[in-house]
């Protein structure tokens, strides 16, 4: 019982000297309060920026506590391809990281890779639900298909993945070269997915002219179409069909399958995207000289910046503002040279990038033995289920949960409109798994969509969906994304970001060894300590230590705090001194 007021009935009750007989706790100073503080976790900017809605501050916290395998598990909850993403994701989380406004963003991508190095398949929970008895066909085993398969299996559904190629992985296996994503890493992650009970049927192409038609897919309650975009755009130039002209994807696919095509000594790569950059870097490793020709300038290149930088460092000769006009051939129909024209930039087009215009009379001819065209990829219309609506460029039209226009058909990844990245494909696979799950259960989608949402950036959380509750441990029901201004940076010290170590160029070009090195335990701990944990309480005790009214009490490690509103005067110091905006102050109701 809290201290009561003391009353003296008569003079004899009074002490002989003026001495205190009790504390002041009878005095409920909470009645003075007009602002009410509370602990309220919010959405970190990194998670808000992650299409897959990863619990980034959560896994980094676990690394900081030396709990490396648990950090990996935490990532795996929201992304079955963490070791892959730790290498090839273009990490929008780092662009969102509030620390960028302080010194440099946290090296989240490197930490993700580090966590993956402590993967332990035995820790993976097999399913979250009992078997539903339903069967789902997943067409395509790129990141979208693999992700959907993983979560559908976890949700208790039977899953079969149909893949046209000899091995699963999609672009991860047949596009992205091994020097960026070692095959053993990919194999391991696919094995994780198989361990969930997913069946893979490789070498089976769906669709008209394939090995199996959609009509033959019997016994499946739903289909997820994630066949990517594998038809290379044609250059539309004279000489395009000559011997020695090939698409970037084709080249990468050949090399990935172990073939070493005959290319001559000089190769021109046309394009400025990831495919062009990867093709160029692979060509260097095959021993050719490589010129990369792009019609706009380096700033407009759609490839990830790091890719462009490394390609140039390795020796790719980048020629900006150059567009091909013709391919010259010899009598045997083989490529001898490429004719190009110089371009200049004009007004921005619909995409916001400046339009290139040819400079009359600036043509030039470069002798080459091979031309690799990598100017974009399209979906294969013949490989789609009959009747699905497509957009102008042949992509499958889907709603915000990945439902196509045909009943029981879902789609996502590169075959649908939107950004083409691994993490976007993963997000699409996750969204589709939820959509399929709701469809199979005959459930309403709107409520589930809200439950899954992470912040406002469109990322979704599987753990939130599984718990089916807003009162989950992450950010409560908050949609408030923490901005840099909301942090109290007095509690943070400047600390340089980890510098990625890479192989020397000479040792890179002798083969397909992984270029980027991982973090050591020590480096990971130092980097993890740089995380601000925006919006998420770390029990730093500031609220407790600074409270002038002893009204904030810790509840024990990991349990947070309680505020005693009988005494809290609402000064707001706890909120102001919270380093990470995981407390809020609101007006008292009248």
């Amino acid at each position: 019982m809290k201290q009561q007021r003391i009353t003296f009935q008569n003079v004899d009750d009074l002490p002989n000297v003026v001495v205190s007989l009790g504390t002041m706790e009878w005095n409920h100073t909470g009645s003075w309060r007009y602002l009410r503080p509370r602990h309220e976790n919010k959405v970190p900017a990194c998670s808000n920026a992650c299409p897959a809605g990863n619990d980034i501050e959560g896994f980094i916290r676990l690394i900081g506590e030396n709990r490396f395998a648990e950090a990996w598990l935490k990532l795996k909850e929201e992304n079955p391809l963490t070791r892959t993403c730790g290498r090839v994701c273009f990490h929008p989380c780092e662009a969102g990281c509030n620390r960028a406004h302080f010194d440099m963003p946290v090296s989240i991508n490197a930490l993700e890779r580090f966590a993956g190095e402590h993967a332990d398949r035995n820790l993976l929970a097999k399913t979250a639900r009992p078997a539903s008895g339903k069967q789902v066909a997943v067409i395509g085993s790129g990141p979208a298909g693999l992700t959907a398969a993983f979560y559908l299996a976890r949700l208790g559904h039977g899953v079969t993945v149909f893949e046209a190629m000899a091995e699963p992985g999609g672009v991860l296996r047949y596009g992205i070269p091994a020097h960026r994503l070692p095959r053993a890493v990919l194999d391991d992650e696919i094995a994780d997915i198989a361990s969930m009970g997913v069946t893979f049927r490789c070498g089976v192409r769906l669709g008209s002219g394939g090995d199996l038609s959609y009509a033959e897919l019997v016994g499946y309650d739903a289909v997820f179409v994630a066949i990517g975009a594998h038809e290379s755009r044609r250059l539309g130039l004279p000489g395009e069909d000559a011997k020695g002209v090939m698409s970037g994807l084709h080249l990468l696919r050949l090399v990935a399958a172990g073939t070493r095509p005959r290319l001559g000594t000089r190769v021109a790569v046309i394009g400025g995207g990831n495919t062009a950059c990867d093709a160029a870097r692979v060509l260097l490793r095959l021993g050719t000289r490589v010129g990369l020709y792009y019609r706009r300038s380096r700033a407009e290149m759609p490839a990830f910046k790091d890719e462009i930088d490394e390609a140039i460092r390795e020796g790719v000769e980048l020629h900006e503002l150059c567009a091909p006009v013709a391919i010259s051939t010899n009598a045997t129909g083989a490529v001898t040279a490429i004719r190009l024209i110089r371009m200049k930039l004009g007004e921005p087009d619909d995409s916001g990038r400046r339009q290139p215009h040819p400079i009359p009379g600036s043509e030039l001819e470069v002798p080459v033995d091979t031309v690799v065209a990598a100017i974009g990829e399209l979906a294969d219309p013949g490989a789609l289920p009959p009747g699905v609506e497509v957009t102008g460029d042949g992509s499958v039209r889907v709603d915000d949960l990945g439902r196509a226009s045909v009943e029981a058909v879902f789609s996502g990844g590169d075959v649908t409109p939107g950004p083409r990245t691994v993490v976007d494909a993963i997000a699409a696979g996750k969204r589709a798994a939820v959509a399929v799950d709701l469809y199979l259960a005959g459930a309403e989608k709107a409520e589930a969509a809200k439950v899954m949402r992470v912040g406002l950036g469109g990322g979704i959380s599987m753990s939130q969906y599984l718990e089916r509750s807003l009162a989950h441990e992450r950010y409560g029901d908050s949609e408030h994304v923490v901005t840099f201004d909301e942090l109290n940076t007095a509690y943070f010290e400047s600390q340089p970001r980890h510098r990625l170590k890479r192989l020397t160029v000479e040792s890179r070009l002798s083969g397909f060894a992984e270029v980027n090195a991982g973090l050591t335990d020590r480096e990971a701990l130092v980097e993890a300590a740089r995380c601000f944990h925006c919006g998420v309480c770390t029990e730093c005790d500031n609220c407790y230590v600074f409270c002038p009214d002893v009204a904030v009490r810790p509840l024990g490690e990991g349990k947070g705090y309680e505020i005693d509103y009988d005494y809290c005067k609402g000064c707001g110091i706890c909120v102001a001194e919270c380093p990470r905006a995981s407390m809020s102050l609101a007006g008292e109701e009248a």
């Binding site: 201290q3 003391i6 002490p15 003026v18 001495v19 205190s20 007989l21 009790g22 504390t23 002041m24 706790e25 009878w26 005095n27 409920h28 100073t29 003075w32 109290n488 007095a490 029990e539 730093c540 005790d541 407790y544 230590v545 600074f546 409270c547 002038p548 009214d549 002893v550 009204a551 810790p554 005693d564 009988d566 005494y567 005067k569 609402g570 000064c571 707001g572 110091i573 909120v575 102001a576 001194e577 102050l585």
Partner: protein, 300 residues
């Protein structure tokens, strides 16, 4: 997270009468956690007389002797002598006084105790005016600040009295500044003071939201700015000789500190520039002292 803070006993209770955001109870709570329950407080007239509550209550779980405005030093010496006669030398005597009771009216009794080197811990929680009676200026009020007796048309003129130098001049064994913005440093210093025999003095900057014209939630931030702008350096002096700076300021212009407080609203750009010059000068002097060799013999 501060090590051990959760385990250290809470010797100040809720329900006290300090205004929202007052630095006084923060300082007291930290100091008592550092000292432990075997402590007797001597408090002269000041806000804390009121904060602790009226008879028959007290917000502290250690004894308080309330005493006259000018007597903290002398009364603490007396309590010390009485305890020693009773064989209770282990009990710590904490004189806890405001800036008025320390810099002004109580200076003689503090000086007396320090000169005798009586074994007491004297903590001045400095809110830079006579706050309890309604924000009258004291000799701890900073240059050009507004108070009710130095209204903005006629703000206070002249520097804040340097109490640390006065105490260091007594060759007091341990003198330190501290701030509610740096709890760990404050508690370390109070512990250090308790472990040191003889008179020890800790000067704690303690913002007063109504008196400084700041929002209650800004208390800690303003205290931190005081140190980061070098207005209130955090340092300690051993035996009046050995100076050590404990918090590296973030080098923030004083304008940022002044502009955040209503009591400096009336300052013109020239005032701020002049204040900045003085602060820079004082900071250089302090750095020089921190770099000097100290006298190697003993003063006592």
């Amino acid at each position: 997270m501060m090590t051990r803070f959760r385990e250290e006993e809470e010797l100040m209770t809720s329900g006290h009468l300090a205004c929202q955001g007052c630095g006084g109870p923060i300082a007291m709570r930290l100091a008592l956690k550092a000292l432990g329950e075997d402590t007797i407080c001597v408090i002269p007239a000041c806000c804390w007389t009121i904060i602790s509550g009226p008879f028959p209550y007290s917000a502290l779980k250690v004894p308080i002797m309330h005493t006259a405005f000018e007597t903290a030093g002398a009364a603490a010496s007396g309590v010390r002598a009485a305890l020693d006669i009773q064989g209770r030398s282990h009990t710590k005597v904490l004189a806890w006084a405001g800036d008025g009771g320390t810099f002004d009216i109580g200076l003689q009794s503090l000086s007396g105790a320090a000169e005798r080197n009586d074994d007491i811990i004297y903590i001045c929680y400095d809110n830079e005016a006579y706050m309890n009676t309604g924000v009258q200026r004291s000799s701890a009020t900073p240059d050009r600040a507004w108070t009710t007796t130095t209204p903005s048309g006629h703000p206070k003129r002249g520097p804040k009295k340097n109490i640390v130098e006065i105490m260091a001049a007594h060759k007091t064994p341990y003198v330190a500044t501290a701030s509610v913005a740096y709890p760990e440093d404050l508690m370390r210093k109070v512990r250090r003071a308790a472990e040191t025999r003889g008179t020890t003095f800790v000067h704690v900057l303690s913002p007063c939201p109504p008196g400084w014209r700041i929002d209650s939630e800004a208390s800690i931030r303003i205290a931190r700015l005081a140190t980061d702008s070098k207005v209130f350096p955090i340092y300690e002096v051993e035996n009046g000789e050995k100076y050590q700076i404990n918090v590296k300021p973030r080098d923030i212009p004083v304008a940022e500190y002044l502009k955040a407080q209503g009591r400096f609203n009336h300052l013109a750009a020239e005032d701020i520039a002049e204040i900045q010059r003085k602060i820079d000068h004082e900071w250089r002097r302090l750095m020089q002292k921190a770099m000097m060799d100290s006298y190697s013999g003993s003063h006592y």
